[in-house]
């Protein structure tokens, strides 16, 4: 009895403390840190809106005195890589033509894989799945050249379809895991009821699983679009220069040794390349976080 009373002692309304000092510290730190994280984005935008003379004289953090959109136009349609002066637009359309089919194919394959692994477990399935997950950790460099040979054998080395295959392969571990975990979390009775009613593998997939799991498909899409858009290594290894994705072209434009460096054009090009994932990020909000959390916690 005595003990209980003592435990009850400190209960009740919490004594009011002067929290303001703590809050100033807390929000002050958070705002400072946020400013630091926002700084590069700000510098990119500001630099891209200045003319070259202003950049040479001024300070990279100061806002532009005269706003000009010429660097953006130049980055999009005139910037040079080597002899080619078509600007980033070509890289942009290449990236679109790579990203769209890669996202669709990789999600289609991985969702079926995940479904088979979750609901139609067959002998040996776990072994393949384990290999797949281990594959996510193997450095890509180890598999680069064997894939070059495979693609060359089927005649797809250097073009866009080959790169789409590569993205579908390397997206598979993480997406399969994502879908497998999601489908396993759905109530099993649903699956059993559908089987009793005579539905088969594809029937259950298209009529029951697919409509029930739209959110996870959106998560997978976000994960893949940003991942594939941001890829550099596969683009540079598996495509010829005319099919280079945007990231590769951006790097070639900015880090080219010829000519005078136009920092404003470079920064405009950099923003243009970052724009797609940034828009996806800010629009998708919590789903993006869910995607990377699922993507990051492998296993």
């Amino acid at each position: 009895m005595d003990k209980v009373n003592r435990l009850e002692g400190p209960a009740g309304p919490r004594p009011k403390k002067a929290f303001s000092g703590r809050n100033i510290m807390l929000y002050g730190t958070l705002i400072m840190v946020s400013l630091y994280y926002l700084l590069p984005l700000y510098v990119m935008v500001v630099t891209s809106l200045k003319g070259m003379p202003e950049i040479r004289l001024g300070n990279i953090f100061s806002p532009p005195m005269e706003v000009t959109f010429k660097p953006w136009v130049k980055a999009w349609s005139e910037a040079c890589t080597g002899l080619n002066c078509e600007g980033l637009s070509r890289g942009f359309w290449n990236s679109v033509r790579i990203t769209v089919p890669s996202v669709i194919i990789s999600i289609a394959i991985a969702s079926v894989n995940g479904y088979a692994l979750a609901n139609w477990r067959f002998k040996g399935a776990d072994i393949f799945f384990t290999i797949l997950i281990f594959g996510a950790f193997i450095p890509y460099q180890v598999m680069l050249y064997p894939i070059v040979i495979l693609l060359r054998e089927i005649g797809l080395y250097g073009g866009l379809p080959g790169l789409v295959i590569v993205h579908s392969i390397f997206g598979m571990p993480i997406l399969t895991l994502l879908f497998r975990n999601y489908f396993s979390s759905l109530p099993e009775e649903l699956f059993k009821a559908a089987r009793v009613d005579g539905a088969r593998f594809w029937g259950i997939y298209f009529r029951i699983m697919l409509p029930m799991s739209l959110p996870i498909f959106v998560v997978a899409m976000i994960l893949q679009v940003t991942g594939i858009w941001n890829d550099f290594l596969f683009g540079v290894v598996y495509t010829r220069p005319e099919y280079y994705p945007m990231t590769v072209q951006l790097n070639n434009i900015v880090n080219s040794v010829q000519g005078v460096k136009e920092y404003n054009v470079n920064m405009a090009a950099t923003i243009l390349t970052g724009l797609v994932p940034l828009v996806i990020y800010f629009v998708s909000g919590k789903l993006f976080v869910r995607g990377i959390a699922a993507g990051a916690v492998k296993g």
Partner: protein, 296 residues
């Protein structure tokens, strides 16, 4: 016997057919490709892979090449610093966001947005900010501190730390999100109990929360570590490996030898070493993580 086999094989036939892409990827690309590279790292392949075995020659050459040892040293410095710092920064930021603050979503969005950007974009922005003629150095000098010097990208001793700044900016948001998820998974009663006992907050974090978050820390550690070994685009964009060879990393070594130096054998040997490094991290983790769970 004759009857039993086809039966077993044709059970779940559709599922097996549907899993063919996965099986092919797992066997042909992941296992086959890895084994192929390891085998051919013992050959004298130059422009094209040739099955002429030369034992450990490629590895001997690899370890006597200064570019490789510099690459490894850089990877070690970069890896260790980014491991420790991103864990610390990620944890601190997560604990700030965990204080039931207002605008939590806004702060989180700001801290995480760099992670949506590619390493190429990250590298190029920081190349510009750290530019000695126009960037931070010149701004501080312009503000009156003439002797100020901060030029990591053109200093062969410091360049890897310049890359580190960019890498931390890009990746620490992810660690923060993972840590925050871990903190949210902790029972609120623990906080109540520690408040009742009058334990200060920082002490609760260090003595109670961190030990409870051990699995989160380990997972995060493995994610950071396996990401670090792959560092490639960031260096290509930000420094191109320079000045000289002072910011080279192993992944770049592999690419350059395989696709530009026309010295496949070296590339294979170097990538095999990278694989080895990853296995040293991943296998003990997988053993700890899944070894016990699978039996349960």
């Amino acid at each position: 016997m004759q009857n039993a086999r086809p039966n077993q094989l044709f059970r779940n036939m559709t599922a097996k057919i549907a899993a063919i892409p996965m099986i092919l990827t797992a066997l042909c690309v992941f296992v086959g490709g890895t084994v192929w590279t390891i085998v051919y790292s013992f050959t004298s392949s130059k422009l094209l892979p040739r099955a002429k075995f030369v034992g450990f020659d490629q590895y001997e050459r690899l370890w006597s090449t200064s570019r490789w040892t510099v690459s490894l040293e850089n990877l070690f410095i970069y890896g260790l610093c980014s491991l420790v710092l991103s864990l610390i920064i990620g944890f601190l930021l997560a604990s700030l966001l965990d204080q039931k603050i207002r605008f939590e979503n806004t702060f989180r969005s700001i801290l995480l947005y760099p992670f949506a950007l590619s390493f190429i974009v990250t590298g190029l922005v920081w190349q510009w900010i750290l530019n000695p003629e126009f960037g931070v150095q010149s701004v501080v000098r312009g503000a009156g501190w003439i002797g100020f010097s901060f030029n990591p990208l053109y200093d062969s001793e410091l360049v890897i730390y310049g890359v580190l700044i960019a890498g931390l900016w890009q990746g620490s948001g992810l660690i923060m999100v993972l840590m925050l998820a871990g903190m949210r998974g902790i029972d609120q009663d623990i906080w109540k109990a520690s408040r009742v006992d009058g334990i200060p907050m920082w002490k609760t974090y260090i003595l109670i929360i961190i030990p409870m978050m051990r699995p989160v820390f380990i997972t995060t550690l493995v994610i950071i570590a396996s990401g670090i070994v792959k560092v490639y685009d960031l260096v290509v964009a930000q420094t191109g490996g320079g000045p000289g060879i002072s910011s080279e990393v192993p992944a770049k070594y592999v690419y350059d030898y395989m696709f530009q130096g026309q010295n496949l054998g070296q590339g294979f040997a170097a990538s095999t070493m990278m694989l080895l490094a990853v296995l040293i991290v991943v296998i003990p983790w997988a053993y700890l993580e899944f070894g016990s769970k699978n039996r349960g």
